[in-house]
C-alpha cells in the first residue's frame, strides 16, 4: 500500500478541490492510502471515499502570503508541516500540497530532508510539447542561485526522473543556453557544459534554446532556478495570453466567428487539452528522501487527481530509492 500525505488546506480551491481529487484517486487506484491533513469539519462535507482514507485534524494552516521558512518553523501544527512530518516519521511515503510553494520547499528540505550527496534539490515539472510527449525541466525556482555543481546534479536527477517515471530510454538532456554552440553563455553555462559533457550516466545533447523547448528538442532541460522560473512563467503567460486572444477573437468576431467556433469546438478542445498543464501533474521537489510534490495553486479536482497519479507512479517506480542509491555511489567514488 502506498501511503500519501495530502495537505487538504493548500491551494485556491482548498479543501473542496483537494478532497474531490482524492475521492477520484482512491476510486481509480486500489494500491494507495490517503492521509488528509487539515480542518476535519471543512474536509468531511466533500469526502465521499470511505476506505483507505483518514483525516488528521489540525486547525493551523500556512497561508499563501506567509513568509515560507518562518511559517514552517513557527506553525508546527500546520496541515502542510504535519504532512511532511508524517513522511519523515515513516507514517507516509510521499507528501502533496497545492499550498505556498516556498513553504513546501522549506518543509521538504528541513522536514523530509535531502538525499545524501544532493546539495540543492531542484523543482522539476513535465511541460507540454506540441507532439504531446512533454519534457522535464529543472530547476524551476527552488533556488535563486545555482553553481555548475548544482546544475550537474539537476541533469543527473532529471535524466533519472524521465527514465524512471516517464519511461523514456536514454533521455536526451539539454542545457538551456542563449545559443546552441558549445562556446555560448556565461561562465556558469560554460562550466556546466564541461561537466555534463563528461558525465557518463546521462545522454547529453548540448545546449538548447528556449525557442525550441515546445517542439521537444530535449527530454530533460537543465537550468538555474532563476532562469527556469522566468522561462516557466513566460511559457504559461504566453499560452494564457494567446488562448485569451483566441477567446476574444471568437467573442468579438461577430456571427461569423461564432458559427465558426461551433464547428471548430472539438478541434479547439483537443488543442487546449494538449496544452493542459494540469494533466501532467505537479512540480516535484526532486532530490529529497521522499516524493514531495506541489500541485498548482489553482488546481481543480482533476489536477489534484493527476498529481496523485504522478505521486503514485513515483512510488511505484521507486525513483527516489534509486536516486538515493545512485548518489550514494557518487559520494563513495568522490571520497
Amino acid at each position: 500500500m502506498k501511503k500519501i500525505a495530502v495537505d487538504a488546506m493548500g491551494g485556491d480551491h482548498a479543501p473542496k478541490a483537494i478532497v474531490e481529487g482524492v475521492n477520484q484517486a482512491l476510486e481509480a487506484f486500489s494500491d494507495i492510502e490517503i492521509q488528509l491533513y487539515g480542518d476535519e469539519n471543512k474536509i468531511k462535507p466533500y469526502l465521499t471515499a470511505t476506505e483507505r482514507v483518514s483525516i488528521i485534524h489540525t486547525d493551523e494552516k500556512i497561508n499563501s502570503d506567509d513568509e515560507p521558512a518562518k511559517a514552517v518553523r513557527r506553525k508546527k501544527n500546520a496541515s502542510m508541516v504535519l504532512a511532511a512530518k508524517a513522511v519523515k516519521e515513516g507514517q507516509a511515503d510521499a507528501v502533496l500540497s497545492a499550498g505556498n510553494t516556498g513553504a513546501l520547499l522549506a518543509a521538504g528540505i528541513f522536514v523530509v530532508g535531502r538525499i545524501k550527496g544532493i546539495t540543492r534539490p531542484g523543482l522539476l515539472s513535465t511541460l507540454p510539447t506540441t507532439d504531446g510527449k512533454g519534457f522535464d525541466m529543472l530547476d524551476l525556482g527552488a533556488n535563486a542561485e545555482s553553481t555548475a555543481e548544482h546544475l550537474h546534479q539537476y541533469a543527473v536527477l532529471g535524466s533519472f526522473y524521465a527514465e524512471n517515471v516517464r519511461g523514456i530510454a536514454r533521455p536526451r538532456v539539454g542545457l538551456l543556453n542563449n545559443g546552441t554552440e558549445e562556446t555560448k553563455g556565461d561562465p556558469l553555462r560554460k562550466e556546466t557544459f564541461a561537466l555534463l559533457s563528461q558525465e557518463p550516466s546521462i545522454h547529453f545533447i548540448g545546449n538548447v534554446e528556449a525557442r525550441d523547448l515546445m517542439s521537444g528538442v530535449a527530454d530533460v532541460v537543465v537550468t538555474d532556478g532563476f532562469t527556469g522560473n522566468a522561462v516557466l512563467k513566460s511559457i504559461e503567460g504566453t499560452a494564457m495570453g494567446i488562448m485569451g486572444q483566441l477567446k476574444s477573437a471568437i467573442e468579438g468576431g461577430g456571427w461569423k466567428a461564432k458559427i465558426g467556433y461551433l464547428f471548430m469546438k472539438d478541434s479547439l478542445r483537443t488543442m487546449k487539452k494538449s496544452l493542459d498543464y494540469s494533466d501532467a501533474g505537479g512540480a516535484v521537489l526532486f532530490g529529497l528522501n521522499a516524493p514531495v510534490v506541489k500541485a498548482h495553486g489553482s488546481s481543480d479536482a482533476k489536477a489534484i487527481f493527476s498529481t496523485i497519479r504522478q505521486v503514485r507512479l513515483m512510488l511505484e517506480t521507486q525513483v527516489v530509492p534509486k536516486s538515493v542509491e545512485k548518489f550514494s555511489v557518487v559520494e563513495e567514488t568522490n571520497e
Copy 2:
C-alpha cells in the same frame, strides 16, 4: 533628410526582402534616404525606387555562422561593417541589418561606439501585449553577464525609449524577478531593486513576473541579458507552438473544423496580427551613438519596412542625442 545605412546582404531572405522593404519605405517616407550596402548585381534586380537611394557595392559579407567579433575585425569590407562605418564617419545617421546578431552588436560597439557614460549597451525590443500596446524589454542578450549597475542603466535607457519613441508618458518600469515581493530574487535583483527605487528619472513599479508580461504589467521590463534572451525565446517558441497547434487542429479536425475555419478566418487573422512581432520593428542596440537596429533574421519585406519606420522614428524623436545629453549629465554629477 534622415540617412539610413542598410546592410542589404543580411538575413534569410536577403537581398530580396531587404530591397523590397526599402522600396516600400522610400515610397512611404519622403524624409529618408537609404544607402544599400552589398552586391550591386544582386541588389539591382529588386530595386524599383530611383530617388533618395544609392548602392555602395561590396563583395564581402558576414555569414550567419561567422564568429561575430572575429568577422567584424577581419571582414573589413563586409556590407554590415561598411554600413556601420558610414555612421561612424557621419555619412549616415543610423544602421539597419537583418544579419548575424552578434556581429551587429560587435560592429555597433566597436565601430559606431558607446554613448559616454553607458557601460554596456542593451538589446531592446518592443514585444506584444494582449491589449496591443506592447512593452519594451532589455537586455535581450547583448550581454551574457550583467551587474546591478548595468541593469540600472537599462532601466533609464528603456524608460527613455518608451517615452520618446513610443510616446508613453511616465512609462511604468518593472524589474523582472521570480516574485513580486521586494525581497525576492538573487543578489543581483535585490541590488538592482535598491538602485531603481532611488532613481528619480524613472517611474519604478517594482518587481514583475514573466507570467504577466503579455498582459501589459509594465511598459518597460528590465533584466539581465541571459534571462532576457531566454524569456524572449520562450515567448516566441510558445507563440509559434500554439499557432502551430491551432493549424493542426484545423487541418486534422475534419470537415467540421475546415468549415469552422472559413467562418473564423477573419478573426484568426486579426489575432495573428496582434501577436505579430515583425510589425513592431527590430531590436535596438540601445546605448550607442546612433540607432543600430537588428531586424529579425527571417524578416520579409513588410518586417524590413516596419524596421525602417522604427529607425526613422528614432531619428525623428532624437532619442539618441537626448540619451547622450542625459548620460553626460549623469557623468558630470558623478564626477
